[in-house]
């Protein structure tokens, strides 16, 4: 079965997913054990949509959602982190392509989901965000890598726990093809 990458449904899902991401990004911050940092539940949303609709949708949701919420709360986006968000969303969407089970048939491939989400967050927060911070904003190296490391742990937890729970709940609402038998 060939999975669609960017049809009308993906576009609409991207649009609404972006709105959802924005709402959560701006208003929902669960305080974490580390002081002055928050768990961003929004990353769970982008991983969930990425699993359902693929890397393009996941990347755009995180990118648009993060950029617009930055616009609204800070006046101007912090581009390095916006790009990192987009990268995290897009890479976690690879799970959509590599998953061995079809989530629309009620089977959720947790292993692939976790692998790609951890890879995505590692690439985004330990490589993309700090490097862009240095290149664009000339921030001190030790500061950005510390921030990146903290962000990696936080966001990986959010993506895996929240995203994983949402995916498994979604899978339960779907029924397998041919699951009914005639007596």
């Amino acid at each position: 079965m060939k999975k669609p990458l960017f049809n009308t449904k993906t576009i609409v899902a991207t649009g609404l997913g972006g709105a959802l991401f924005m709402v959560l990004f701006m208003f929902v911050k669960v305080p974490s054990p580390v002081p002055e940092t928050n768990l961003q539940i929004a990353y769970g949303i982008s991983s969930f949509f990425a699993m359902l609709f693929g890397p393009i949708a996941g990347g755009l949701i995180a990118f648009i959602g993060h950029a617009l919420s930055d616009f609204l709360s800070y006046g101007s986006p912090w581009w390095s982190w916006v790009f990192a968000s987009g990268a995290a969303g897009a890479i976690s969407g690879i799970a959509y392509l590599t998953a061995k089970k079809d989530i629309e048939q009620g089977e959720f491939d947790l292993v692939q989901f976790l692998i790609w989400n951890i890879v995505a967050n590692a690439v985004a927060w330990i490589i993309v965000a700090p490097v862009l911070d240095i290149v664009i904003y000339a921030e001190p190296v030790s500061l950005v890598f510390t921030q990146g490391g903290i962000a990696f742990v936080m966001n990986a937890i959010c993506s895996c726990v929240v995203g994983g729970l949402l995916c498994s709940i979604y899978a339960k609402t779907k029924t397998k093809e041919g699951s009914l038998t005639k007596k």
């Binding site: 576009i11 709105a19 929902v28 974490s32 006046g75 949402l166």
Partner: protein, 277 residues
């Protein structure tokens, strides 16, 4: 929670009359300029220009007060963190050392460090009015059309305009569901442990996501029935053709950008403007 977003108001000023495309190009040019330079003279220049434009666009300070406070906290935190993590970064960059006073051996306050941090401070501060001007004077539906005009795929633009369109709806849904769940005793405050809070969050998210997915289905059908996505190109209802003032504004912004690049590569010959040599 009840923030009034996108306080776009239809006024008749010079900036409001410009096409959305112009505003987008100018915004991108000026923010890129500030992003790519560490020359405080240029940064302050852009800041003054953006404050003048702020007046021209008739944006009142009360409209951006909350945002301003948020940003200030953010920049100040960054200011302190930068000093804690690398107190000698300024010395590294500018190559000289003028000691002002000593806190401890590691935390020596130097003129270079102060200059580097002040430059960074004004750098972040100067882009905020630009963002405000862009968002307060551009019609949300014109925003998507201008992105399409600079060459972005129209499908991505549709996604963006759907995000803008449905943001208030999703926000309202979230608010309702969250209150309903909390009334049933779902604990979201610091009293519960982190794992419990994450799990409780999922209990708010589930209804929110399923109602959103239903909406996705509905909108997709509506769009497909109207033949969306049949052709390679698409025209926009809200597109304004460029006039004389538009070309003038783009020209001015482009000139600022090119001037900065000229300074960067031929005059100061480095990312940083160094007043210490």
């Amino acid at each position: 929670m009840k923030t009034k977003l996108f306080s776009y108001s239809q006024l008749d000023t010079f900036i409001h009359r410009l096409s959305g495309l112009t505003k987008l190009i100018c915004f991108l040019l000026l923010t890129t300029t500030v992003m790519l330079t560490f020359d405080i003279r240029i940064i302050l220049g852009v800041m003054v220009l953006s404050l003048i434009l702020f007046r021209v666009a008739q944006i009142r300070f009360s409209q951006v007060k909350v945002m301003f406070v948020f940003v200030l906290i953010f920049i100040l935190t960054n200011f302190v963190l930068t000093f804690i993590f690398s107190p000698t970064y300024g010395v590294e960059i500018y190559g000289t050392e003028h000691i002002l006073f000593v806190i401890t051996e590691r935390y020596t306050v130097t003129l270079e460090q102060l200059f580097y941090q002040m430059t960074k401070f004004s750098k972040y501060l100067s882009v905020i009015p630009l963002g405000c001007i862009f968002f307060f004077t551009t019609n949300p539906s014109e925003f998507a059309s201008s992105l399409n005009n600079i060459g972005l795929s129209y499908k991505a633009c549709s996604a963006l305009s759907l995000t803008l369109r449905y943001f208030p709806d999703v926000q309202g849904d979230y608010h309702t569901i969250s209150l309903a769940q909390q009334a049933r005793g779902v604990e979201m405050s610091t009293k519960a442990s982190v794992m419990t809070r994450l799990k409780n969050m999922v209990r708010i998210l589930v209804p929110l996501i399923f109602s959103t997915l239903d909406r996705v289905e509905l909108i997709t059908n509506a769009m497909e029935l109207r033949g969306y996505g049949k052709h390679k190109k698409r025209t926009w209802f809200s597109y304004k053709p460029l006039g004389k003032n538009d070309w003038l504004s783009i020209g001015v912004c482009l000139a600022i950008f090119l001037f900065t690049m000229y300074m960067r590569f031929f005059v100061t010959k480095s990312l940083f403007y160094n007043p210490f040599i």
